[in-house]
């Protein structure tokens, strides 16, 4: 593999890791506050569809993005009402939302666009275009640094940079602000927060809403940046991989970045080397495509070690007598 191929694989890694990272951080906010969210997948899917559909209809990707985030937020509200207000089972609520998103997106897409459950291809302003960072072209010929800057760092859509900035922002919010302290506390021991006179319900809703916004960005990125339109089940399990990455990262933002890059890298490899010959055998394409998922299982089973989830995670808070 030469230097340029490596750069291209890494470039692809960044693109593929972005939706994972956004979803992973979304899950991080929610789970740190004690609300398990298996519905990342469904929120992303809903956001992907509505962003693509609205972007196509309005011709503006920004309005599409707004629609995607709104759709994802609506799902968050349902999840919040079910699991916080009515103290329902968080896993069931999440699974239900996943089913709802899987069915609803295709159904609406079919009645709206009549293209077999997909949206028409997005072009022009209906898509996020790559941004060329300053000096990228002038520095292109500087050895080593030039190509890295030009190929790898520059030339992504704005959401990639948003995702990258979301990592330090998440870290700062969680560990350096009052809101973060309370959010982490509510996921560990909501009774402590309650007796300190802070609303458990309010904090958890705030966390679930942040989760919704980030999932919305992730979904919109999938449909309007990584691809040019919505297709059925386009999230392809990314919501679950993001959850796996979250466990792998032990619910920490910087580790989440690393975990998502790793999973992105696996996917990039699978996409790039579809027919590798190893000692005379041609490895089937299907195997290469399954590889990221297989490795997800292997990594989670073997390499995570002891990951301690937030202690009050999954438990609705009931004030004790």
């Amino acid at each position: 593999m030469d230097f340029l191929t490596l750069l291209q694989v890494l470039d692809s890694t960044v693109r593929l890791a972005t939706p994972l990272l956004l979803a992973c951080l979304a899950g991080l906010f929610s789970e740190r506050a004690g609300i398990f969210d298996i519905g990342l997948e469904g929120k992303m899917l809903a956001a992907a569809f509505f962003s693509a559909a609205v972007a196509y209809v309005t011709g503006s990707v920004w309005i599409g993005l707004l629609a995607g985030v709104t759709a994802s937020l609506a799902f968050s509200v349902i999840h919040g009402v079910a699991s916080i207000t009515f103290r329902g089972n968080q896993l069931i609520s999440g699974v239900a939302l996943n089913f709802l998103a899987a069915g609803l997106t295709v159904l609406i897409a079919q009645t709206w666009f009549n293209q077999g459950g997909r949206t028409p291809s997005l072009t022009g302003n209906a898509r996020f275009e790559p941004i060329t960072l300053p000096f990228a072209e002038t520095l292109q010929n500087v050895p080593i640094f030039g190509p890295i800057y030009y190929e790898l760092i520059s030339g992504h859509s704005i959401l990639v940079y948003v995702a990258a900035l979301a990592v330090p922002a998440t870290w700062y919010i969680l560990f350096r602000t009052r809101f973060g302290l309370r959010l982490r506390a509510v996921g560990e021991n909501p009774a402590a927060v309650d007796t300190a006179g802070v609303s458990v319900v309010g904090l958890r809703f705030a966390a679930v809403m942040i989760c919704g916004v980030l999932c919305g960005l992730a979904g919109a990125y999938l449909a309007t940046s990584l691809s040019a339109g919505f297709v059925k089940d386009m999230t392809a399990g990314r919501g679950y991989i993001a959850l796996a990455a979250l466990i792998f990262a032990k619910w920490r933002p910087w580790y989440a970045l690393m975990a998502c890059l790793l999973f992105g890298f696996l996917e990039a490899i699978a996409n790039r080397f579809q027919n590798i010959e190893v000692i005379g055998f041609v490895i089937p394409v299907q195997f290469m495509q399954a590889l990221p998922y297989i490795l997800t299982v292997v990594i989670l089973a073997g390499f995570v070690g002891k990951a301690i989830p937030p202690r009050a995670g999954g438990e609705p808070y009931v004030k004790e007598r």
Binding site: F175, R176, T177, R178, F179, G180, L181, R182, R184, A185, E188, N189, A191, A192, V193, D194, T195, A196, G197, V198, R311, K319, R321
Partner: protein, 523 residues
């Protein structure tokens, strides 16, 4: 003489009902500033409900709350905190993986960013620690602190929020005697600084030793408020229970018979590879109670678990001369019960009962394969329920309803369900761990009587308790465990709490340590 100062807290006619249950009924109380006021009552008497109303968890159905002479509505905890009320709950409300400092500022931060809040809290904490002798490492994680220190963090949390009135709910339930003593010194210090303290407990000794006035609650009502110096433990006990209570266990001298249980060089290594029991040997005879004293966590729990078949060990244990299996292969609760060993585990809620099961289902555990409960392939639930009814009657379990789930019984009645189940099988050896932890005084008396009755029927009893008083009053012989070893054996008549306390701290040479002890007492 008219009182010039207003009471720190005055409650007027507080009532609160949960459905048909009247938890508090027309309760009035005056707590003067700068005093320690005890509220004593059995479990379920309504003490905690009353304090929850004061801390804004519940809204009273009727009544008024006056704080420092002004009528105050307390709709939520935030208001209570602002009114200067601080609460130290029985189960600490701390975030385990946060530092002390983070726990203290939680909910009382200055501004949106943590750094300045933490810096300010650190300074104030230092000040408070010095002022009240409450030293805690501000950067320690809660999970690394002992319960005694965790409780200090709770107190500091309240003081940091500028509490003038401190409510402590059963504060010594989880503390060792030394930690409890330290706590009471801290409370004395707070009182001298002018703080008002409300101490909720069901332990008479604590009331007598620390409070200025005491209010007694029974079945949701305030039955009396008296000056502590004007009353006696006997009188308080009577007021609490509503009848005369025997505080001392009345028992005849033991008539020890043959050796029932012989333990030889028993060793237990836990899952982390730490040796918890380091080669202990002892015997329990028929017709005697061997009490094992010690601060929690010195290997007593492991010992009980091994004998009860819940844990592996090495060494030798004989029942009636025949060894029992310690490898874990043939040892479980069921095989132990077949050998005549009954077990009242230390933690009734985790090991003794299934909290979501009915009382009658709980009485079957461990004995569900009893032939009298079988009807072909099915269980004879009617027989089981009849048996439960009989136990409820005999052990005075309240409410007398075998369809209640275990969690809806009070602590004392839960324990009675477990004790009834185990004792009614007429075991040769009864293992009892912390039989009266969190149990009210009436039930304590009852459970103690049952244990002694079993002893008098010629059975062997191995009692593990962290309550020295209990050990001293029930045991015929006392062994003290420290760091996985037995530090010594004493006869209850020939020892006292001070000597046992030293053994519990690992000081075996009590003769030499005595001068130091007297010195401590003199202080």
């Amino acid at each position: 003489m008219a009182d010039s100062t207003a009471p720190a807290i005055e409650l007027k006619g507080i009532s609160k009902a949960f459905g048909p249950v009247q938890a508090n009924k027309d309760i009035s109380i005056r707590v003067m500033p700068g005093t320690i006021h005890g509220i004593i009552g059995e479990n379920g008497a309504g003490k905690s409900t009353l304090m929850s109303i004061l801390f804004g968890f519940y809204k009273a159905d009727a009544g008024e709350i006056w704080i420092n002479g002004t009528r105050t509505e307390i709709p939520d905890s935030q208001t209570a905190i602002r009114a200067g009320i601080g609460m130290v709950f029985q189960h600490f409300k701390l975030v385990e993986n946060f530092t002390v400092l983070e726990n203290i500022i939680l909910g009382a931060e200055d501004g949106a960013f943590l750094r300045p809040s933490l810096a300010k809290a650190r300074k104030l904490l230092k000040q408070l620690s010095d002022e009240y002798a409450l030293d805690v490492d501000p950067d320690a994680k809660i999970e690394d602190l002992s319960v005694g220190y965790q409780q200090r963090v709770e107190i500091l949390k309240a003081l940091y929020r500028k509490a003038d009135i401190l409510i402590l709910d059963e504060p010594t339930g989880v503390l060792t005697p030394a930690e409890a003593d330290h706590l009471f010194r801290i409370l004395e210090g707070l009182k001298t600084e002018g703080k008002t303290i409300i101490l909720i407990t069901h332990k008479l000794r604590e009331i007598m030793e620390t409070t200025d006035t005491v209010s007694v609650m029974r079945r949701g009502q305030m039955t009396a408020t008296v000056k502590t110096t004007d009353t006696s433990p006997e009188e308080l006990a009577e007021l609490m229970v509503g009848r005369k209570v025997l505080l001392r266990v009345d028992k005849a001298p033991a008539q020890p018979g043959k050796v029932v249980c012989k333990v030889d060089n028993l060793r237990v290594v836990d899952g982390l590879g730490v040796e918890r029991v380091k080669g202990i040997s002892f015997e329990v005879r028929a017709g005697e109670v061997l009490g094992i004293a010690g601060v929690a966590g010195n290997g007593q729990s492991e010992l009980l678990e091994v004998l009860g078949g819940m844990r592996e060990a090495t060494g030798r244990v004989e029942i009636d001369g025949d060894p029992i299996d310690l490898t874990g292969r043939l040892s479980d609760g069921r095989t132990r019960r077949k050998r005549g060993i009954a077990h009242v585990p230390e933690d009734r809620q985790r090991e003794g009962l299934i909290m979501d099961y009915h009382a009658w289902e709980n009485t079957a555990f461990g004995y569900h394969d009893d032939p009298s409960y079988q009807r072909g392939f099915l269980m004879d639930n009617n027989a089981l329920r009849q048996n439960t009814e009989a136990q409820i009657e005999k052990f005075d379990i309240r409410p007398p309803d075998c369809w209640q789930t275990a969690k809806n019984f009070s602590g004392g009645n839960q324990q009675k369900i477990v004790v009834a189940r185990e004792i009614e099988r007429n075991p040769d050896l009864l293992l009892v761990g912390q039989p009266t932890r969190g149990v009210d005084i009436g039930a304590i008396e009852f459970i103690h009587k049952q244990i002694i009755a079993l002893r008098d029927a010629g059975k062997a009893v191995l009692l593990v308790s962290v309550e020295l008083e209990e050990i001293l009053s029930l045991s015929d012989r006392i062994a003290v465990m420290f760091d996985g070893r037995i530090m010594g054996e004493r006869l209850p008549d020939e020892t006292n709490e001070a000597e046992l306390g030293l053994l519990m701290a690992g000081i075996t040479d009590t003769a030499e340590a005595k001068p130091e002890l007297e010195l401590q007492e003199a202080r």
